[in-house]
């Protein structure tokens, strides 16, 4: 059934057709529409699940993880400050090996306070043990929720999954989404059962998340977490093949387009992938040998696939919507590491930051990134990185905003 859905309602539909048992909610813009939708379905009986509102994201995540260990299929979601507020629990959930799905709607982290997109929130969870899948459009949101449960609940994985979508750009935008039939979903996603559920039989008690003072115990379980995460790459691949057979839509951890003969590759994640694809097509029409790589899976990090697809290019421009002050972009060093041991690797690997708070990514940015790659390639000298993308018209508006603050005009550091 095809319908016009926002990214948020697509996430809710993903939970609904996954037949979740338990929904944990705490509102935060731009995510609230997801839990509003689910709560109305639970109320009407369209979704047979328990819906609980919590007093904070921290307790919400705690309940979500614990419920997952009882054998319930659990869905929860958050965004930005809320996700960060509950961050401590995300490490616990992964450590408990609770296979739930969490949808994050990316929003910038204050200050200044903003409601629009930036990926600092979801990337702050990158080392928690969660598997991370990032969506480009509303259809992918739904697909990745389904794939999320499939991978999470695999007995070789047993890890939670975070599915990311961009706030506003996807969360409030309606696109055509194909909602699969229930029978097809049941075929793809069988009932979840935990091997030793919490609060199961009284005769079968179990403790999850015990304490230890021994490093060898701690190391053992942390290493197990890592190995399970690495294993999920294979599981994702198999699941994606099965997904294609049933639903006819392909998903890969790393998706390369127009890269066969490309000298220059733009690397991107999430919804701005669409802008980059349009830009690559325009540049191709002008005779530029460019291509794009979309990173759909951030954790586990698909190092080999990336190295294979990027190594043939002369230059790679990595575009990111996040900023680690004093370091630069967050994913860029991981790309560099992935390429380090490649026999053949691009001569130029440049880091660009833009789209923070939803600033535009269009042809000016695409042309600028290409120009910088070419300059570096030609001269052998690279600019200081990362390069911060900012439009001159935005700078004019910013100066106007500054003039309204009443602050004395400050000197610029030369």
């Amino acid at each position: 059934m095809k319908k016009m859905l926002t990214g948020n309602s697509s996430a809710a539909w993903g939970a609904r057709i996954s037949d979740v048992d338990y929904v944990c909610a705490y509102p935060i813009t731009p995510q609230t529409e997801i839990v509003e939708t689910l709560s109305s379905w639970v109320n009407k009986g369209a979704l047979k699940a328990r819906f609980v509102n919590f007093e904070s994201e921290h307790s919400m995540f705690a309940a979500a993880g614990a419920a997952s260990l009882t054998g319930a299929r659990v869905f929860t979601c958050s965004s930005s400050q809320g996700l960060i507020y509950g961050l401590e629990m995300l490490y616990s959930i992964a450590g408990w090996r609770a296979p739930l799905v969490l949808v994050n709607v990316s929003r910038g982290l204050g200050m200044p306070m903003i409601l629009q997109v930036e990926h600092g929130d979801v990337l702050a969870t990158r080392d928690s043990g969660f598997i991370q899948l990032h969506a480009e459009n509303c259809q992918e949101v739904l697909d990745l929720v389904l794939l999320g449960y499939k991978i999470a609940e695999d007995s070789n994985v047993m890890l939670p999954v975070v599915v990311n979508m961009d706030g506003f750009v996807l969360s409030f935008a309606r696109q055509t989404v194909d909602i699969p039939q229930r029978e097809a979903v049941e075929k793809f996603l069988p009932r979840y059962s935990h091997p030793r559920p919490l609060l199961g039989l009284e005769s079968a008690p179990v403790t999850y998340g015990p304490t230890t003072s021994d490093g060898f115990v701690y190391s053992f379980y942390k290493y197990q977490l890592h190995k399970a995460s690495l294993e999920s790459r294979k599981v994702f691949q198999t699941a994606a093949q099965e997904f294609f057979k049933i639903f006819s839509r392909r998903h890969h951890a790393v998706e390369a387009e127009m890269t066969e003969d490309a000298d220059y590759i733009f690397l991107v994640t999430n919804s701005y992938s669409s802008n980059v694809r349009a830009g690559v097509r325009s540049l191709r029409a002008k005779g530029e040998k460019v291509g794009m790589v979309k990173l759909k899976m951030l954790r586990p990090f698909p190092r080999e696939e990336l190295a294979e697809v990027l190594s043939q290019a002369k230059a790679v421009a990595v575009f990111e919507q996040n900023l680690a002050p004093g370091r630069g972009a967050i994913i860029y060093p991981e790309i560099a590491e992935a390429l380090y041991h490649s026999q053949e690797r691009p001569d130029v690997l440049l880091s660009f930051i833009g789209g923070l708070g939803g600033t535009p990514l269009g042809m000016p940015e695409m042309e600028y990134m290409l120009k910088k790659c070419k300059e570096f390639l030609k001269t052998g000298h690279g600019p200081e990185q990362p390069l911060l993308l900012y439009r001159s018209e935005d700078w004019e508006s910013m100066k106007h905003s500054l003039s309204k603050t009443g602050l004395p005009v400050s000197r610029e550091v030369s």
Partner: protein, 299 residues
């Protein structure tokens, strides 16, 4: 072939719903469509935008706000004089407006129809989303009247309208659809729409300098600068003082929640319309009923 539509109106007028009706109608027609509203901390009466992108099948690989629309839909004619909605509109872009006509000083091709009057007659209130969506679907040749009617039903049902009110909205939409011509045929047009690329270049990027002092810290020390935020644009109703009745009792001055009423030395009150949101508290409180309510005027 792609078309980008930007809708302008005020909070509470149904700008988002109008965008959704257009895009759902296009979806039902078999086109590829996408819509998104601009969300912010707006309240009733504040300027609100919505965006619709339509293609006849090719993927819509654009995200975010529409800066260079092919068509504008103006639900609120007062926005023309007050907030200049024409920015970024292509020179041959079409203006679709809820008004008897578009003032000749705006040199854009236009389709005008007084949806508000029709809505007052059919719905008994100035609720124009279905009618405005109908103008766009017809003027741009996007959909049939059947797809439009079905889209109105779907979207009005989605927001929880009673069945008889939904049908009256369908009636309004059909009337508006039949009252305007198709100016551009979307389905048969060649692709004249420039992507943003044609009038943008990488020269437009700048490196911002590092600042020292207080400016790099997000701080505001100016007092009274909310005056710079012209909330008068939010006004749907305007209070007018009848000075022949005013006794300079200054009750209006005391009750104005936004301090938009100033006093002359002899205590004669003046309403500052740049910031007056039209809450009408002054009119309610005036003991002499010297303040009357004026509806927003058309362009």
């Amino acid at each position: 072939m792609k078309i980008r539509i930007r809708l302008h109106g005020r909070g509470g007028q149904g700008v988002k719903t109008a965008g959704r009706i257009i895009s759902t109608a296009c979806f039902l027609e078999g086109h590829c469509a996408e819509d998104s509203p601009m969300y912010g901390p707006e309240r009733r009466g504040a300027p609100v935008l919505s965006f619709v992108r339509v293609s006849d099948g090719e993927p819509l690989e654009e995200r975010g706000y529409i800066e260079h629309p092919d068509a504008l839909v103006l639900l609120d004619s007062s926005s023309v004089s007050r907030s200049s909605p024409f920015y970024g509109l292509r020179t041959d872009g079409l203006v679709i407006i809820n008004a008897p006509l578009l003032a000749p000083k705006f040199a854009f091709p236009s389709v005008a129809f007084d949806v508000s009057s029709a809505a007052l007659r059919v719905l008994k209130k100035d609720s124009v989303s279905a009618g405005a969506a109908a103008l766009a679907c017809k003027a741009l040749g996007l959909t049939s009247i059947e797809s439009l009617s079905e889209a109105v039903r779907m979207e009005m049902n989605e927001i929880g309208l009673r069945p008889e009110l939904i049908e009256r909205n369908v009636e309004l939409a059909r009337e508006c659809f039949s009252s305007v011509p198709t100016v551009k045929s979307f389905v048969h047009a060649h692709d004249p729409s420039p992507t943003d690329s044609n009038d943008e270049s990488s020269e437009k990027l700048v490196e911002i300098p590092q600042m020292v002092g207080l400016q790099p810290i997000a701080a505001i020390i100016a007092t009274g600068n909310s005056r710079l935020n012209e909330t008068g644009l939010w006004r749907l109703t305007t209070p007018r003082i009848d000075y022949s009745k005013c006794t300079k009792c200054i009750v209006c001055f005391v009750y104005c929640p936004d301090s938009c009423i100033t006093l002359e030395p002899d205590l004669t009150p003046h309403i500052q319309y740049e910031n007056c949101k039209g809450c009408m508290i002054c009119a309610t409180e005036c003991p002499l009923h010297a303040i009357s309510e004026e509806r927003a005027v058309p362009a």
